[in-house]
Symmetry: C2
Subunit: 109 residues, 2 copies
């Protein structure tokens, strides 16, 4: 991950996917290695404008995933039905406990 993308992008009223990721274990090295393979998969999806993962400063096992999508369908009908999502899931889902709540937020008020 380069850290050069912006978590929000106001072109055409895109939406923001937000997920708080709580890791099962304390060793985050394997998680970060998996992320380095996973983040390009989501960034190359049609309708994905940017994606980033930030570490929580108060809780070392918590991370925040922020993904800008053109619309909810790009995430739910596009990415989640793709081969890339199957690979994303295989790479990352084993690290989470509990399984994260994923929400979508509209453009800023």
């Amino acid at each position: 991950m380069t850290g050069t993308e912006s978590s929000t992008d106001h072109r055409q009223g895109g939406i923001l996917e937000v997920a708080v990721l709580d890791l099962r274990g304390r060793d985050t090295t394997a998680f970060k290695t998996a992320l380095s393979e996973a983040m390009p998969l989501i960034r190359r999806q049609p309708g994905c404008r940017s994606a980033e993962l930030r570490p929580c400063l108060e809780n070392p096992q918590r991370y925040l995933l922020l993904v800008n999508w053109a619309d909810v369908a790009a995430h739910e009908d596009g990415f989640r039905r793709s081969e890339d999502y199957r690979r994303w899931r295989a790479l990352l889902h084993g690290f989470y406990e509990p399984f994260p709540l994923v929400e979508h937020y509209g453009p800023p008020l």
Copy 2:
């Protein structure tokens, strides 16, 4: 709120304040009116690079506050000890139930 700011800003490794705001009542009109007065207060703080509030698409009583700060001190030692924060609190805190968890996230990995 203009919606022209970006929720992240990677200059000098700033941090992101994140708060999920759950409103007590179903009428969001008064909340939005209060916000129109409150958001300029936080945006003018030293070290505040941008601030935005987004509505949750799955839950009409939920909002996400994202604030880019130069560092945690700008938020906790600066804003929270300011007169502007007292006004911010008076304007907004009565709308929340429960009181929101506020977390800080470091620069993107």
